[in-house]
Amino acid sequence: MATNQELIEQWWKEEAPLLPLLHAFHDRDGFISEEAIRAVADGLKIPVAEVFGTVTFYHHFARKAPGQAAPRVCTGPACKYLGAPELLKSLEGATPMACAGRCDDGVPVLQGHEVRVGRTADSLEKTPSPLPPPNPGNVEECVFAHIREPERNTMEGYRGYEALEKARGMSRANLLALITDSHLAGRGGAGFPTGKKWEMVEQAEGEPKSIVCNADEGEPGCFKDRAILDYDPHAVIEGMAIAAHATGATKGFIYLRYEYPETFQIVERAMAEAEELLGDGFKLYLRRGGGAYICGEEGSLLNSLEGKHPFPRNRPPFPVTHGYNDLPTVVNNVETLASVAPIVMKGAEWYRGLGLGEHAGTKLVSVSGDIQRPGNFEAPFGLPLLTLLNEWCGGAPEGRSIQAVTMAGVSGGFLAGDDLDVTLDEPSIRAKGAFLGAAGIMVFDDTRDMVEVAHCAMEFFAEESCGKCFPCRIGTQRLTERLNGAAGPADETKWREEVHDIGRTMMATSACGLGVAAPNITESLVKYFPEQVAASLKNGR
């Protein structure tokens, strides 16, 4: 067993050393002891109090036995209806965890470095994550075009970095123009034009520049990045290397969520295979999060990488000028980066043409919940939502109908009734008061209690709120209490007034997207399901 000193020797000189060093202690002991925190603080010259505070921020860093050895059961909104609460009770010493990204074949149970999946304690099995099914609409794909080929996640199956070679033969200006011309935009949900972002980093002063791949997929109902990294990790690595060439970046980081330990191994292996092709000019690092949804927010992610308390950063300045170590940094989502190599090979016009009508390109959509065929699908922008739900995914389970779907995981709130008749593109969905975001869609059939679903979603936001800004820290708590009747007025008018006032102020004043988006849940609940709200208040929920 490695000594404290050996672990510190191994990591202290590395890039972004805090997280991997904490993981090293966590893996060695099964938890992070007081002694470990003192050793890390001393080794990295960070105040003890700061390391302690940071450790307590992450959900999965245990501070006492059995720690890592105890099972953690996903109780996300999809798994909740797949038997998660009963499973949680039946496993000794188990604790709940937020959505762990296996909504398409839940319920995942994380124990040590292993995810097992099943609906009951007896049926838990370690199985590979589901491969995206063949495209049900038979439409041309970009990101998933080759993902179903055998051994695609090895260099042999990927067959080398042809696009990188081509990109390296291009001038930076031409490469940037190509990406801009493709209309590729941030697929993590924010939709910022990728070419523009790269150009800003290329032009920003300060070196070394970095490319950060945001693989901290934590939104409930979103599991697309898992599929890409499990079955086509080289597409992401190649995309990062092309981004590095376009911007002059010499360092790259993949920040992967804690809950994907098998993915970590797959990506680690792929990185080793790619080392030679990347060359000396671009060094890639893989970092594992500690379990915090907010670290998917780019400011928090950068703080987390740097070993700071993972609060979001104030903007401006933006990461394009002040990113990792306050130097110019591209932060791109997994899906965005995976789209780059095909665009380089096939051209901007080809990519734009994949969308329907005036829309450019494609979007990966994760569908889960009460639906016949859940999974990841690559849809052209502009595809009607009902086509996706009914034709691609087979509609609601036998004998039931779709009552509501969530948008952007849970951040976009609910769509229901006539508003389900909408096309999958940001302007159309925003016109309904929701947003597409990272395109996690959870389906709830007509047997579900929507107030209960809303409570589950809001509880997630409250637990994941970082605590930096007042409206989100207090607002998510108060809305959660109002959805399960723990506190708040019983009178419907007063209840609606309080919930609306809190929501409106959260939307207008929260410091980051979490607090801005969370009230979409309550606003859309009241809009589509006023009778269910009234009934739940009447029942003294």
Binding site: F52, P316, S465, F470, I474, E498, A508, T509
Partner: protein
């Protein structure tokens, strides 16, 4: 190399319909404050890096989708800013109602600390009477920390992190930290222990910047029940030579506490444990008020200065006479100013002819 001095570019923005100039690097909040706007805030402390946590200072900026926190947003030329629209004022009131709902109480004695009335004043200004947004309260008071200086009444904590930031940015101690996240956020020390076991130096700056009195000055709080109003008298700390400005707090004729002067040129709100908490000697019964000399009976007796100084001079002369000039050793007080220290070394060097002179601050 001497930096080239460039004339400061004067840019302007429109603040509530009035054109005001600003210098590059200023935030909207700083510009607004300079222009006399009373933009509310709870997480702001001019000495610290802007944090953007309380969101009370949000303002409307033309062309922005949502209000922005004025404390973290740099002023830019041509910006059109509105600090007090109806919508903004409603958000501020809602935010204050939310904050008020998480505390056990929102009114505390002013003796708790310099900034302790900030929340209360804003609740009054926005006529927040409480009652809305009822629910669980945040923060757990630490009842085991019985240090004599700092009360840790986290039931009143609103997670503005001013204490964490002042400890790190101003004092450099990094004794205070933030445990957990969201509504479970708890201000504490390493391993959630007591201050004595942490890196805390008991400088008291966390207490003085706390806007709710969650951190309280235990020494001053002893006088909460004494009659009379609290009066503040500006003076200079009597300890070392730094010259920190302080406000002495008195009730009637009694010294009850010390607060650092936020505008003190030498300290800008900082003090050390002695300047902040060690004032009991002023009214201590053991304090010498008259010179004492030891008589032949071996006891100390009160006398006048003339007699006492003569007795001291005789003693020095006798020692030097019998054992030589190096039998004398002078130690000047660190509490005395430069001029006194100079006089002291002159007295020892020129008067006795020895270099045996030192200052207690060196110890």
């Amino acid at each position: 190399m001497i930096a080239e001095v460039k004339p400061t570019a004067t840019a302007t923005l429109t603040l509530d319909g009035v054109e005001v100039s600003f210098t590059e690097g200023e935030t909207i909040y700083e510009v607004a404050e300079r222009a006399g706007r009373e933009v509310p805030t709870l997480c702001y402390d001019a000495r610290l890096e802007a944090f953007g946590g309380c969101r009370l200072c949000v303002v409307e900026v033309d062309g922005m989708r949502a209000p922005v926190a004025s404390c973290t947003t740099p002023a830019t030329a041509g910006m059109v800013v509105k600090t007090t629209t109806d919508a903004i004022e409603k958000h501020r009131r809602t935010l204050l109602e939310l904050v008020a709902s998480e505390n056990r109480e929102n009114e505390v004695d002013e003796l708790r600390g310099h900034a302790s009335q900030e929340l209360k004043s804003l609740l009054d200004r926005y006529e927040v009477r409480g009652g809305r947004f009822a629910g669980r309260q945040s923060g757990t008071s630490n009842s085991t920390d019985d240090n004599p200086f700092i009360l840790r009444d986290y039931d009143l904590c609103i997670s503005c992190y001013r204490c964490v930031r002042v400890c790190a940015e101003q004092e450099g101690d990094h004794a205070i930290t933030m445990m957990n996240r969201g509504f479970e956020k708890q201000i504490t020390t390493e391993f959630n222990g007591i201050l004595k076991d942490s890196a805390c130096t008991f400088c008291g700056q966390c207490v003085q910047t706390c806007p709710t009195g969650a951190l309280g000055d235990r020494k001053a709080m002893r006088a909460e029940s004494l009659p009379g109003e609290v009066e503040k008298t500006r003076t200079v700390c009597p300890y070392c030579g730094v010259g920190c400005s302080v406000d002495l707090l008195t009730k009637e004729d009694r010294l009850v506490g010390v607060q650092p002067a936020m505008d003190g040129p030498a300290n800008e709100g900082a003090l050390c444990i002695k300047g902040q908490f060690a004032f009991d000697f002023v009214q201590h019964e053991d304090r010498l008020k008259m010179p004492l000399v030891r008589d032949e009976d071996g006891e100390l007796h009160e006398t006048d200065w003339e007699t006492a100084l003569d007795r001291a001079a005789d003693g020095f002369k006798k020692a030097a006479g019998e054992h030589g000039r190096h039998a004398v050793y002078g130690v000047a007080s660190g509490r005395a100013p430069h001029e006194a220290a100079y006089t002291m070394q002159k007295f020892i060097r020129a008067g006795f002819g020895t270099h045996q002179i030192d200052n207690c601050s060196r110890a």
